[in-house]
Amino acid sequence: MTTMPAATAPTSLRRLFDEIGTVDQVGIEERVAKFTTRSLKKKSKVFGLRLAVSMVDLTTLEGKDTPGKVASLCQKALRPHDIGDIPPTAAVCVYPAMVKHAKKHVVGTQVKIASVATAFPSGQAPLKTRLAEVHAAVNDGADEIDMVINRGAFLSGEFGRMQDEIAAVVEACGQSTLKVILEVSELETYDNIRAASFLAMRVIRPGDFIKTSTGKTSSNATLGNNQVMLEAIRDHFLATGIPIAMKPAGGIRTAKQALHFLIAVKETLGDDWLNNRRYRFGASALLNDLVRQLEKERTGAYQAPWNFSDATEGY
């Protein structure tokens, strides 16, 4: 990770750090290393796994997505496994063009439709185009909009522009929940992640999300950047009383990782954030592993991947 120490950062960023404080990188990393050492016994593990299932935004964001693939993903979200009492996921996350195909499968259920918008994943389109995309997704029935911030504006110190754009998207969302993707791998330092979190949190509504990444770059959600954002949410909540929700995305593939993230939430923000209104996982492969581990706990036997849908290999 290249570093841009707070002391040499642009003036606008330095002023912001005076206000919100910087991040102790060594401290954060030692803190998150502890989360992976907790011993979870059976009852807590099953609770955590079921909770994690209910927090998944089951995602498909590929050029080859088809209405048929989205339909099967919606069925999977509604009923992750045919045996056992496994809850549905929180949402299905698709591209705007797929919203209308997905919506008809989940109408009347608790599963929501989330759509990435604003020229995901780069955000490199005129603001007018990005807002039009948000409007289109909302009109097609998207309950939630995942937007990307203007990283170029942030990195060049144009915080006002970055915040104005987020505010414009908030307005375009109407009743839909907004998730603001910071794309942490392009922000490069923990200090920047904290700064971007605060800038976003100041213009979004209570219950809106900040989100780590698009899943389209080399590095994604880690316990470290998740922790920086959780602590930003905590500090913002303590200062203003406004609860902001959180969504790590990309790179969370195993049930064990998901439990580590939940431990971080529990120990940083407490039980009020342990539900799918305040915390989500953006993932595709994670759901299968969660279900696989739940089946292991139910049956007592380690499960083969081919017992679950979407397993690719028969070996």
Binding site: A301, Y302, Q303, A304, P305, E313, Y315
Partner: protein, 288 residues
């Protein structure tokens, strides 16, 4: 000048890496005279689970290797064992076997590896077939590896029995998760070091040490293991059969309570390979 003693920490070979047990547990191993020899990892069912995951990663690549290449790699394993045969002999003799007998076991083990190295590109011709059918079809049968095979070695013949159970499985492209002799695990530790230098892809053979009683139920019920090839006592066989019925896996059970002549030619050959493969028959339409 006296040198500081450099003692070895024996480690298990899993996924191409040398690991300690996830539990951090070890069990002291003593030689035949009762003197402390080393601490051996005492693996758990979670280590077994991790080994199966490692095998699942390595499997498709190993099965796709050409038969000739698999043979080359197995022959190289024999080369690696031959180069360290003295050390292997001492490891086998740790349990009280005479040096001469241990040396004979090591030689037989190396020859068994060479035996299967020769079979890799030959069993298909014998087990596959072109089948006469009454319709206008070209009908043929080919073999495919089963997947991940669980191996549980008996306490005696700690090297030869282990090699004899593992080799027929990997010859056809299966992967193996093996539990070594509980009383004489050290030869399996050395075998792991030789596997690591044999060009065999990491994860194709995974060797665990520890208590059979702790891991046996997991071998029985783990759904990702497609077959079990074991030499255990009657009570353990019952546990394995019950678990295997539940998880629908094939079992090749040898009776550990009866003497098994591992040196015998009956303990090697194409029938052993055949016990751990699936047959696939294809009907291909042809012009009348």
């Amino acid at each position: 000048m006296t040198r500081l003693l450099i003692t070895k920490t024996p480690k298990c070979y899993v996924g191409g890496a040398f690991i300690r047990s996830e539990s951090g547990r070890v069990a002291p191993l003593h030689d035949a005279s009762g003197a402390f020899f080393a601490n051996i990892p005492q693996c758990t069912r979670k280590d077994l689970r991790n080994a199966v995951e490692a095998a699942a990663k390595a499997g498709p690549g190993w099965a796709k290797r050409s038969a000739f290449n698999r043979g080359q790699i197995l022959y190289r394993l024999a080369e690696m064992m031959e180069a360290r045969s003295g050390e292997l002999t001492e490891a086998v003799a740790l349990g009280g076997t005479s040096k001469a007998e241990a040396s004979r076991e090591v030689a037989a083990s190396i020859e068994r590896v060479v035996h299967y190295a020769g079979w890799t590109d030959k069993y298909e011709q014998i087990l596959g077939s072109v089948n006469p059918v009454a319709s206008t079809h070209f009908n043929f049968t080919v073999t495919e590896p089963m997947g991940i095979i669980g191996v549980i070695a008996p306490d005696d013949s700690p090297l030869l029995a282990l090699v004899s159970l593992i080799l027929p499985a990997i010859t056809s492209g299966n992967c193996v998760v093996a539990l070594a002799s509980s009383t004489q695990p050290y030869p399996s530790i050395l075998l792991g070091e030789m596997l690591a230098t044999s060009d065999l892809p990491g994860g194709v053979v995974n060797l665990l040490t520890g208590l059979r009683s702790e891991m046996l139920p997991t071998f029985a019920t783990h759904e990702h293991l497609r077959a079990l090839s074991v030499a255990v006592n009657a009570a353990d066989r019952k546990t394995l059969k019950l678990g295997a019925a539940e998880s629908v896996k094939r079992v090749n059970l040898l009776k550990a309570e009866e003497p098994i002549d591992w040196f015998s030619d009956k303990r090697q050959g194409v029938e052993e390979i055949r016990a751990l493969i699936e047959f696939k028959t294809t009907w291909h339409p042809v012009g009348a």
